[in-house]
Point group: C2
Chain length 352, copies 2
DNA sequence: GGTTAGCACTCTTCTTGCTTGAGTGCTAAT
DNA sequence: ATTAGCACTCAAGCAAGAAGAGTGCTAACC
């Protein structure tokens, strides 16, 4: 893509920029006459037509039919957002709205939900936020309850107030008192330490064959590990305002819309996309076909990762038609991600 | 509605029936000529036109425009399903599919999910199943964890393996040991009894001023009550195959579709409708505007309640366009409800 | 050589008018 | 009470034409 920037002179880029801006605001293919007036360059439509022909050869713009003006392609948008975009600062109304709503949230799920809702509402598109995944989980409390047939219900509370539960299957049958003992043991040695570190410590102690480590305690650790492992996999997201996408004429086609919403329901494709975004720092964008998924053909995804304690734990973003106001959406997503991170950062909690 | 049946003679009803059947299968307004051929009655189109005029006066059918044949109205459909319908037995393929899939399910949520999925898949419309609500909940285990500022995290396990959690706010501040004591007390006296009955017993004991009842125990009960109360309210449903509705031309209008899907997301209106259905035994139907909700204008909802231990605990159904094959859908929903009830019925669980 | 004016051409969109077919309502005859 | 006949209405489809927007190309211009 970058080679394009070099291949093209200043003027062509300027024209592409105005073209994209114009198309984003109007939704109509833009012709040479409009472009001549819109751009600050003093050029005649005829000249602009020549430039357009070049841009079309490079695959940056495309003409729906012979007499229809030009529309940016995915590559055109890409070049635009990468090199030509002049971002507009977030308006203060939205900023205060975001700040107030997010900082007022007490618990994680609430904050995630609100973030998703705000993304959708303020952009009038769809908002998506992944649940934060922290592999270093602090255990607050753990409880084992035996069910029938070697099945054990594990309930554990992490990070102050997140309750998880999982049914695990064990080889050995445990008595109620054994389970109680195991839970007590885990609850006593966990004081906000991460699961990994505790597990290592226990294994080390076991090797040293110290008296206070017995098999059932290791069992307990293993059970917890089992439960944690499976639970940390649950990468999921909160999607809000999907219905906003129904009004866009780009997505009017019924089967296309159906495919899109089915992808939202399946979740896997979206998760895969969001995972890719999480690897990159800062704002990450997929434009139209770039995502590689049929269902997202006409959609763009603007995301940014958010962090807790300087560690990237999730990603949030906006889904809309490729023809969206990137210059506004990009800073908006960026700021929201930062504010969500701030809202989720561990706050002071009084000792128990 | 019933007065219509009496006002109309056999012949008119017969004609209405064929009209509705024809419209359901074709989706086109049906004219007098077609009706003359379709119905077994040996009547000329002209006669039928007269009858149609009568039916139109009664508000049972409606003409989109002067030269367009007739289409059933909501009342027309209503009369049809109430008095004219000849239900078709469920085909054996679907029956075995339902039976096998549902009886294979181990846990409640799995069964609910599968039921919803089957409803959607086999009808090619949307399937909905409410989560079962049992107000006589058997408590298996309860745990209190203090958070900051009078907030207490209550975790309780009901009916073998359903884990609920709720943060409650209390006037008084409890120490960790008080909470432990309260939990122990509750865990000891609950042995599968319903919450109501225990609460009454405790209050009675308190009045009798017996030594083993103290304030903190009452607090415990109150806390549990608080947590339960709020939790039992969470009537929720599992909706599947909404996207199937996108292909129906009746719902093609984008804003209409948006409203419908927003109603699905809000949930409250749908819950209200489903609640109404739960009160009635057997299959319950809302046709088009009958529901009273704007968003469901062009939709019909066919539901049936399902029971555990002969007690109605939930409702399940199918949402589709008013023009649906009621004669198939009704028995289908009926059977699914019964099979789901059977799948959910408490099975033998070995003692712990 | 880059830029521009001019011109022929293309293609969409809108309108208009026309035809066809389906279906109705009414009336008069059976 | 039923039916045949007829005038009427309306949607949908089709063709032709006009308007408008925009292009590509060529030749002239600075």
């Amino acid at each position: 893509m970058t080679h394009c920037v070099q291949q093209l002179n200043e003027r062509s880029l300027q024209l592409l920029k105005t073209l994209v801006e114009r198309y984003i605001s109007d939704g109509q293919p833009v012709g040479s006459r409009i472009l001549a007036k819109d751009s600050d360059l003093k050029l005649s439509p005829a000249t602009i037509r020549n430039v357009m022909a070049d841009l079309e050869d490079l695959g940056l713009v495309h003409s729906p039919h012979t007499s229809a003006g030009r529309v940016p392609t995915a590559s055109g948008y890409r070049l635009f957002v990468d090199s030509l975009l002049t971002v507009k600062p977030l308006n203060t109304q939205d900023l205060t709205r975001l700040h107030e709503s997010l900082s007022a949230q007490q618990d994680t799920n609430g904050a995630i939900g609100i973030a998703s809702k705000l993304l959708a509402e303020l952009t009038q598109m769809a908002g998506v936020v992944t649940l934060p995944k922290r592999d270093i989980v602090c255990l607050r409390h753990i409880e084992f309850l035996s069910l029938s047939n070697n099945r054990i219900l594990v309930i554990f509370v992490t990070n102050e107030q997140e309750v998880h539960n999982k049914i695990i299957h064990t080889d050995k049958v445990f008595s109620a008192s054994e389970l109680q003992q195991a839970a007590n043991y885990l609850n006593s040695i966990y004081s906000g330490r991460s699961l990994m570190s505790v597990r290592e410590a226990v294994l080390k102690d076991l090797r040293n064959d110290q008296a206070h480590i017995n098999q059932s305690m290791l069992d307990a650790i293993n059970m917890a590990q089992l439960a944690f492992n499976h639970d940390s996999k649950k990468d999921d997201y909160v999607l809000t305002g999907e219905t906003n996408l129904m009004v866009f004429s780009e997505l009017a086609d019924r089967t296309r819309l159906k495919n899109l919403f089915e992808a939202f329901n399946q979740k896997q494709d979206v998760i895969h996309l969001l995972d890719q975004c999480m690897k990159a720092e800062g704002v990450q964008i997929f434009i139209g076909e770039e995502s590689g998924y049929q269902a997202f053909q006409q959609c763009s995804l603007v995301t940014s990762s958010y962090s807790i304690d300087n560690e990237v734990v999730g990603v949030l973003g906006v889904i809309g038609p490729t023809r969206m106001a990137y210059e506004k959406i990009i800073p908006f997503v960026d700021v929201t991600a930062k504010l969500l991170g701030a809202a989720l950062n561990p706050k002071f909690t009084p000792p128990f």
